[in-house]
Amino acid sequence: MARLAGPHAQATVLEGAVRSALEAEGWTVDDHPVIGSYQPDFMASGESRPDLIVEIKATSRPIHFASVAQVASYVRAALEAQPDREVRGVLLSIAPLTAAARDAAEKVGVTVLTGSDAPSTIDDPQVLAAAWARQLRDLETVPVTLDTAIKIAQGILERVDRQFTPRYGTSVAEVGAAAAFGYEGLIQLKQKRAKFGEITEPRALLTTIIFRNVLSEVDAAMRTMAPGARAHHRLVEKYYEQLANEEPTQTAHYERAVRLADEESERLGRFLVRVADEGAIEQVEDPNDPYSKVFDEDFVRTIDEIVEPGAVTSSARQPVQFTATDRHTWSMLKAAALSSADIEWSKYGVDPHIGSQRLSAFLKKVATVVRDWRS
């Protein structure tokens, strides 16, 4: 709590009043307890109710969101020390709370009571503290501890890891993040209780919440780290749902869904499966490798031949004809040392957008002719 010379006396009086009010409501109050590296104003504990970590702001300025974050970090430290207890962070403030800060407090599970939350005048610290203590007494409890939530999260993360790693060669779900998922799931469970009232199966709901959070996190990570794997996974989900609807009595849908997704992905030509190959790095061509150079020259010569006017070229599917535009595009690509990004389209009087399209069309034609050339 802020203890500058001005508000110091007011803060001390309010602190004393809150301590007395909490004790009057049956809590055992520990003044400035040491929790990890933190020292909040109070720790209030009582029989069969959650422990409260209380921070008081006696200044009249609106609450800064960092104060909310600070109380959340106190709670996290307390839960890490005693994961089997339910601990609630409470911020008591004379000043009003802005809508944004109240929203932040809800999202991180911190209870904020302000002067305006108390039905009486805030001029009398004793009356205000008593009103706050009554409100804290009536707060709901959630019959699931963080310890349980972390175990649920750990199980889900391990399961997701077992499913993803063999297939995609990477573990996007970090089992070490179980504490964070558990804590967040618990907060969301509390929010749902506050919104919908009593929940008959809190553990089942918590499992669903954490599972959704994990999948959402995995999806976000795959979007950037492995877009091919994400596309494949979405296909698996699609086929799994389809198979489950078609044959609800059968089990083994998952393996079949994976197979179907593999087939469709192959048909679409997407790179999907990561294969562990220790020698792969040695197979990557060094641009200075003489073989690579000869290969490139050979490759260029072959394309020169097939794009020549009158050259007879055909693929397995259809005959391929190279136009003057194709030959022009090929000459530009060669001039840029086969690096499409380095082609200066405007220098040749071609709009870059059109140039890219021409290059794409040309390369597709070349691909149909030389598909098996290297082998």
Binding site: L4, H64, F65, A66, A101, V108, A180, Y183
Partner: protein
């Protein structure tokens, strides 16, 4: 230790020009923060977060024309970081007339305010290092007024007046530039 800032401004886009002057938005830096690592919800709820080798900045919207910020030191001087950030805010959002409502350095462990900074003329005048030259200038003025303005007296008071004038220039200059004045 962290610094909490509250900045108010005229209506307009504040964050876009400011973020252009700062390293790219990187919410993942919140996981390295003692304050914000407690919940992943912060990553979705803050408006902007970034990190330099010296400090970490987290910005939170507190209405249409008000922003709350937190600066956490990594390897560096927190007061210097605040000064640098405040200069960047002023430079990038000059047209919105940003006003520093509050800047406090808070001890993370206890939540106590350990230092505050203000801007404006009154805090600049309260800087004790300028009191002596201003007092000397004032005393010289009193001497001149009471003993008469002969050449010798005027010459003798010139250094005192010069010192007071320089002190005044610093005070007014810093007030106009909205430089931070720290006090514990």
């Amino acid at each position: 230790m962290r610094a909490e800032l509250t900045i108010r401004h005229k209506a307009g886009d504040f964050l876009a020009p400011l973020s252009q002057q700062l390293p790219a938005d990187d919410r993942s830096c919140l996981s390295r923060s003692l304050l914000f690592a407690s919940s992943r919800a912060w990553q979705a709820n803050v408006a902007f977060a970034t990190e330099t080798p010296h400090w970490r900045l987290v910005v939170y919207s507190d209405g249409a024309d008000q922003w709350q910020m937190v600066v956490e030191p990594i390897h560096g001087d927190l007061k210097k970081a605040c000064g640098s950030l405040w200069s960047t805010v002023q430079r990038s959002t000059r047209s919105l007339s940003p006003k520093l409502d509050r800047l406090e350095v808070i001890d993370d462990g206890t939540g106590q305010v350990v230092a505050q900074a203000r801007t404006g003329l009154a805090p600049q005048v309260r800087r004790r290092e300028f009191w002596l030259p201003l007092a000397v200038g004032l005393a010289n003025g009193v001497v001149l007024a009471t003993t008469g303005a002969d050449t010798a007296t005027i010459r003798a008071t010139i250094p005192g007046f010069a010192a007071a004038a320089i002190a005044l220039l610093f005070i007014v200059g810093d007030a106009v530039r909205k430089s931070l004045v720290w006090h514990d």
